[in-house]
Amino acid sequence: MREARNLQSPISNLQSPLGFLTAYVPEELFHAAGFTPVFIFHTPDDHGYARAHLPGFTCWVVGSALDQALAGRLDSLAGMALAQTCDTVQGLTDLWQRNVPDIPLFHFGMPLRLDGPSARAYLLAELQSLRERVQALTGHPIPDDALRESIALYNRTRALVRRLYAHAADFAPSDLYARVRAAFQTPKETCNQEAGGKKQEAGGRISPLLPRSCAPLFLLAGSALADPVLFDVLAQAGTRVVGDLLDLGERYFAVDAAEDGDPLEALADRLLALVPTPTKHHHQRTRAAHLLSLVRERRAHGVIFARQKFCKPHGFDYVQLAHALDRAGVPHLLVELEQASQVGQLCTRVEAFVEMLT
């Protein structure tokens, strides 16, 4: 556990850190430009700055990023990137540019549609626009070769995280997700070295009341990755997570980008091939179908939805996924997370769910 937590580097130690939010920022492009992309996970601390701008009925995933920025915690960032996803992130784009002018904001207009020829053409044009804007800030070009190298590096990280997920049941959930988070906050070079060199260790305590062989196997769905409370509760309840449909979870690392050919096309095709998050639409490829196939493949006993309070896309998505699971007879549980999630309440729900299934 301690080891996994140490994999995350403080932002100030990183070279030209580029903060980002959302699961659609083309990290490789920023990396090729010399930045170190680092995801700005939300923390339970509220310094009081965000609410002077964002209304109370917005999610803390976005609120925390603004709050950290205005509290001066992100001063060492050389830039911030946001991809077009939900209305709240769109609002943050406006608010950041107005209130955090010292940290240049890059808005990446990821299309809402993942299907159709016009979406791909637009995505390519937008990637080129982003490249030009980044080049304008740094003052030097981002050559195709540099992009290909960054893509190759990121592909290696993705492969390592996929291997981690392949052994997910060997880890306590808190440990598993500490490692997944580390992949977002450590320079890929370091991450690849450390993770690649060691044997995957199975760690973490499980509840003494449930022998390991009886540990219920769950899938997680939602947007959460940064709420350690949730994962600690899952670990304490003796559960194992065997996969997920979290925006920044398994799906994020499931698809590599082509290492040859035009690198912008490689980036575009990867973004279009990912399992959609709730804010994206593919007229055929649905999240419900993917979730059901995951349940079957991993022989999960159930699905736990972790939804941020006020998150509209996941709020609607939950209903569609829950109905699909009901039709397939798969048990599921919904927990809501917020700025300061209550351990007691989460515990009761998760434990009751486990009791229900055993």
Binding site: P55, Q90, G109, L112, A322
Partner: protein
């Protein structure tokens, strides 16, 4: 309003019916003889009739969290239990058309409707206009999709888009928008012949009947009526003392009651950002490009600096004394930057701003006592 829905129900027996979002390029469908209905408008109706809460609870009982858009929850509640809904619900759609220029929630709402009704859904993706004017590749994307949209409609309805009909619908849309704009501009007069709640009622044609003859006729009549009032110096609020600006969607279940304390104090809402949302002009050139530009540049899809300039411009031209902003739980695009808009107006123009938290349809979020206190204090302050 009842007549409008009843008429559509009858017409839907012989024409294809599409549910559309309020920011969709309805001119294309109008030109192709496809009927349109607006679930958002229906949601507003439920709010105005004070039945939205019950319908929201129907949706919530099936798992929809209570913090989702109340138009969506009301409408979904009506879809699930039409017997408890106004007019026994809306007639079944043949098609669904969803354009995200007003918000991202509509995508999820319409995906849920597509699953429920098992009918085809077209998603028109209008990117966020982060700089004004829009970058060319954004306009190209939207225009390309509009062409795709026509092909999709033709395939699903066997109706065709004929050039001359298209141009006449576009011309009517331009005329309606132009008339609506003139009507809104009348608010600059002292006293103003219009007050925001009246506009919220009068806006239905520009939202739901754009491109039709009826909308044009309706606004010609309204314009004439208002010109009469102006000629006789008749104000919407007798004894007009204060001029206010309103921001965000109306509070439908308090449509007039909310404004009574203001009216009693001689305060008239001479301008607002909600009715102004349908004032984008179509230029007569290449129709798909001009439609693309118009529908990308809607008020809540453009960058904050441009929105702030628009509001500041309204405030100055209409000579407002203050602004009331509805912090609408259901509408993030409208509500999310309100604090910064307030700061901007205060700092740049010295205009006092009151922000009130409520919801457009969900009356459970309306705190009568708190609103009354704040409004009274605000009026005293002026």
């Amino acid at each position: 309003m009842t007549r409008y829905y009843v008429q559509r129900k009858v017409m839907a027996r012989s024409k294809p019916l599409a549910y559309v979002t309020s920011g969709a390029p309805v001119e294309i469908m109008e030109a192709m003889g496809i009927l349109t209905l607006y679930p958002e408008n229906y949601g507003a109706l439920c709010g105005a009739r004070k039945v939205a809460v019950g319908l929201c609870q129907v949706a919530e009982a099936t798992g929809y969290p209570a913090d989702l858009c109340s138009y969506a929850r009301s409408h979904i509640g009506a879809v699930l239990q039409p017997k408890h809904a106004p007019l026994n619900g809306m007639p079944r759609p043949d098609l669904l058309v969803c354009c995200n220029n007003i918000c991202g929630t509509v995508l999820k709402w319409y995906e849920a409707l597509a699953a429920f009704y098992d009918v085809p859904l077209f998603v028109l993706d209008v990117p966020f206009q982060r700089t004004t004017p829009a970058e060319p590749h954004i306009t190209t994307y939207v225009a390309d999709q509009l062409r795709e949209f026509v092909a999709w409609l033709e395939a699903h309805t066997k109706h065709r888009l004929k050039s001359n009909r298209f141009h006449s619908v576009l011309a009517r849309s331009r005329e309606a928008v132009s008339l609506w704009q003139e009507i809104l501009e009348f608010g600059q007069h002292r006293p103003s012949p219009i007050n925001a709640p009246d506009l919220f009622v009068a806006m239905t044609p520009i939202v739901a009947l754009r491109g039709t003859r009826r909308a044009v006729d309706c606004y010609r009549r309204l314009k004439a009526e208002l010109e009469e009032r102006i000629a006789h110096g008749i104000g919407a609020v007798p004894g007009e003392r204060y001029r206010f600006l309103w921001d965000n969607i109306a509070i439908w279940y308090r449509l007039y009651r909310f404004f009574r304390p203001f009216m009693n104090a001689g305060a008239c809402f001479v301008a607002d950002t909600y009715t102004n949302a349908w004032t984008v002009e179509l230029d007569p050139e290449e129709p798909f490009v001009s439609l693309a530009r118009a529908y990308t540049a809607v008020f809540i899809n453009v960058d904050l600096p441009t929105r702030l300039r628009t509001i500041a411009d309204l405030a100055q031209r209409f000579r407002v004394d203050g602004m009331v902003m509805h912090a609408n739980h259901s509408c993030k695009p409208f509500s999310i930057t309100q604090n910064d808009v307030r700061d901007g107006l205060r700092d740049e123009l010295g205009i006092p701003v009151l922000i009130l938290e409520a919801d457009m349809c969900d009356a459970r979020l309306y705190n009568e006592g708190a609103v009354r206190e704040r409004v009274a204090a605000f009026l005293e302050m002026l």
